[in-house]
Symmetry: C2
Subunit: 138 residues, 2 copies
């Protein structure tokens, strides 16, 4: 009998699932900005909409898909904002903010040292998702 792990080994329990307008373009952006690698992409047989995709960023997964309004899957521009941001630890936050803005992101709060020992900057990606990029300093 085959044993299936209910929580797959290769993925963390909790993964943010972001909805974007033009998921193919968003995947390109996340690769360029954050060095994401593509794990999986399910494109509609007709057309170019992506129903589900998975990227690896550092040790973590990010799931994403195009908008599907019938299922309540709406991107930040359709919702009018986002109540969830994506907190990402990286080796060098200054470098990554530069890289992300070169790729099209906008700085919301510039990088600075916080009292709890992390250096943090906040950006908005071209698809409206907010990222808190952080590097632990002490």
């Amino acid at each position: 009998m085959q044993t299936v792990k209910p929580i797959p080994n290769e993925r963390q329990a909790l993964t943010p699932y972001v909805i974007v307008k033009d998921a193919a373009k968003a995947i390109d952006f996340y690769k360029k900005a954050f060095g994401a690698t593509e794990v999986f992409r399910l494109t509609e047989p007709q057309g170019s909409k992506i129903g589900h995709a998975e990227l690896r960023i550092g040790d973590s997964l990010l799931m994403l898909a195009d908008e599907y309004p019938d299922f309540g899957a709406l991107s930040p521009s359709s919702v009018g904002g986002s109540p969830v941001s994506l907190h990402l630890y990286v080796d060098d936050v200054d470098h990554l903010v530069e890289r992300a803005t070169s790729a099209g992101a906008t700085v919301l709060r510039p990088v600075k040292d916080e009292f709890f020992g992390d250096r943090i900057g906040t950006i908005v990606d071209p698809f409206g998702h907010k990222w808190q990029l952080a590097t632990r300093k002490e």
Copy 2:
């Protein structure tokens, strides 16, 4: 010389950061619904607002805070929805959906077997955040 790891060992690179109305109540809910454990809570010295909290759910972190409109930190009810959902692998999705609804969540899509081998249900928590609860079956 002390060496500091820029990406802390005990946390994954990518963590969703959710904004809620009444973070103290949300922490209670996530404990009851998902078996979350509290890692950290920073409460304002004056008043009861939580500026930052961290919960562990399974092997993952969830960050959360109360609304801070001046910083663009708004919950789903203020934003009018969410373009990010939280995908959570658990040992027994049927049991967890039951537990979450008992704690106050609402079922958005009932649990069912999906063609890719996962059994998935979608709920909305009392604070407006969407969760896709999943258990791998094959």
